[in-house]
Amino acid sequence: MASVSFRDIEKSFGSTKVIHGIGFDIADGEFTVLVGPSGCGKSTLLRMLAGLEEISGGTIAIDGHVVNDVDSKDRDIAMVFQSYALYPHMTVADNMGFSLKLRKADPALTRERVASAAKILNLGPYLDRFPRELSGGQRQRVAMGRAIVRDPKVFLFDEPLSNLDAKLRVAMRAEIKALHQRLKTTTVYVTHDQVEAMTMADRIVVMQDGRIEQIGTPLELYDHPVNLFVAGFIGSPAMNVVSGTLRRAAGDVWVEADGGVRWPLAPTVPGSDGQPVVYGVRPSDLGVGAGERSVPAEVIVVEPTGAETELLVRVGAAEIVVVVHGRPQAEPGATIALAVDRAAVHLFDPTNGTALT
């Protein structure tokens, strides 16, 4: 187990700079998820930590030791690849014990470690099989087993669930989380799927274009996104955003959008009358029901999912997603009133996207 620290990390491929001075720390035993759209540099960052990519600038330290010039094999890390990367000519047991074999460990010890890892992952009956004889989920578990047997300082996961089908993905997600709770090994996990990030992480690092947008616990990011990018990226369905102008009159505050729509705001929000802003509200912070400050909306699509119902509605020129518990009586074409939880509304600066609230 170990801490990891990134200091002013830069990476260039030829003349193209893909990571622009990233720095953050990962505490011992922490489960950190790097998340962002494809091409944001999250995988590159992970591969630099793994020693698979040269570090163009800055330093990476594991357990306080700078590892920039340390070979992958001497960094005491284990990595699970998206494509599993199992050795096809070796059995499951040989795959899992390969790292110990390379280290010339006692075969009895290797067998013991492989057996205990196989037990954790329910791979016991498959130890003598070859990777080609396993399903996708089993292969991914073997890849995890290979990492566990190492007993490394840091686990690295590079989009490990992307090749699995939806149902298996959810199951494996829980399995990886349970594994971490059991082993408490420092983990760095890369994904483009914000749901994976939200459900698994102790702390999330949101990246875009080779920069960190925000670092925080899942709920911090959800409740207090620092900018429009994080607001739109974290949470599903995504936050509704509407451009408009801040209005203050007679003790009331609202955002006036196209078509004269008045989006209500809490009286405590900063900002002056006439200031252009972006109004953001999560689908779950909207409800159906008439009230003093409700917003009229026309229903376009109703998507019942059982416990919840997702409504796509039109408010002025904007299309807004609403998630309500239960089964509201709404027909496409009908006009309903939207109730807004004013305390949960986010305001952003339209010029640079930073949060104002």
Binding site: S72, K73, F81, Y84, L86, P88, F98, R103, R139
Partner: protein, 283 residues
């Protein structure tokens, strides 16, 4: 179901329509080789499709070395074998390590070296024979069986490297990365991951260079002159030195000479199957 069946039968028939004439065309010379080999001397060129008195006498003569041209038959067969196996083995070592270095370790300048080696194929091997002779003479290797081994390795290697490099490029890169993280040195990566996965290509390339050396005539003729150093391929050529060549013995020896390659091909065919990497990475 039935329509698919019919379509595949039609397809099969088309292939057979091409395949059967090609097969017959290929087999005709082999048949004549066989025909000569089992004919008595005076009937060898009679033009019959089956000899009047088929005989195995020719083979006996060959095996017992009872003819002027066949005095060293077993030694020469042994030379052929030794040289072919040595060429196959050495070319394999050279090509495998080179392909690994170029494709997996991405050694700087590796591709350039490979392309330069391939460039030698622009010059016909026959033109290189004299320079090769001169080189071997400089190193005092003439009349030494190793000269032929070295020459054939030189000729076979560029193609072998190229084939293996292409095959290596198809191995998933993540396997190397996984092995590196698992703690493998380049040599361990080569031995424990790369070579086992390359077996089908290695067999193909090894067989190729082995047969290339087995069938070589020109270089053997030039570089070796001692009767007891010759390969059987060169010795067979010497049959034609005289006006009254014993055709039936030449063909009987030729038939014997053709058997090991056929045996090698069938022995190794099953290793050439693809699909060894199945299950390594998600396709």
């Amino acid at each position: 179901m039935k329509r698919i069946g019919r379509r595949s039968i039609a397809r099969e028939a088309q292939l057979l329509l091409i395949g059967i004439p090609v097969l017959i065309w290929t087999l005709i010379p082999v048949y004549h080789l066989f025909l000569f080999a089992i004919s008595p001397r005076d009937q060898a060129t009679s033009g019959r499709l089956w000899p009047k008195d088929p005989t195995l006498q020719n083979f006996q003569t060959v095996f017992e070395q009872k003819h002027f041209y066949l005095n060293h038959f077993w030694v020469q067969l042994g030379n052929s074998l030794m040289i072919a196996v040595a060429v196959g083995a050495i070319a394999l070592v050279v090509a495998t390590t080179a392909a690994f270095a170029i494709s997996r370790l991405r050694v700087r300048g590796g591709r350039l070296v490979m392309n330069m080696a391939l460039f030698t194929y622009f010059i016909p091997a026959a033109f290189l024979a004299v320079p090769m002779y001169k080189t071997m003479a400089n190193y005092g290797l003439l009349n030494n069986r190793w000269s032929l081994v070295l020459a054939m390795v030189t000729i076979a290697s560029p193609y072998c490297i190229w084939v293996l490099k292409q095959a290596s490029d198809k191995l998933p890169w993540e396997l190397d990365e996984a092995a590196r993280i698992d703690g493998a040195t380049p040599w361990q990566l080569f031995r424990l991951v790369y070579v086992p996965l390359m077996v089908p290509s290695l067999v193909a390339v090894g067989t190729y260079s082995l047969l290339l050396a087995w069938n070589e005539y020109l270089y053997g003729f030039l570089l070796l002159s001692n009767e007891t150093d010759l390969t059987l391929a060169v010795a067979l050529g010497n049959f034609l030195a005289a006006d009254d060549s014993p055709w039936e013995l030449l063909m009987a020896t030729g038939l014997v000479y053709a058997l090991p390659p056929a045996a090698i091909y069938y022995a190794f065919k099953r290793y050439m199957a693809s699909g060894l990497t199945a299950g390594a990475v998600k396709a």
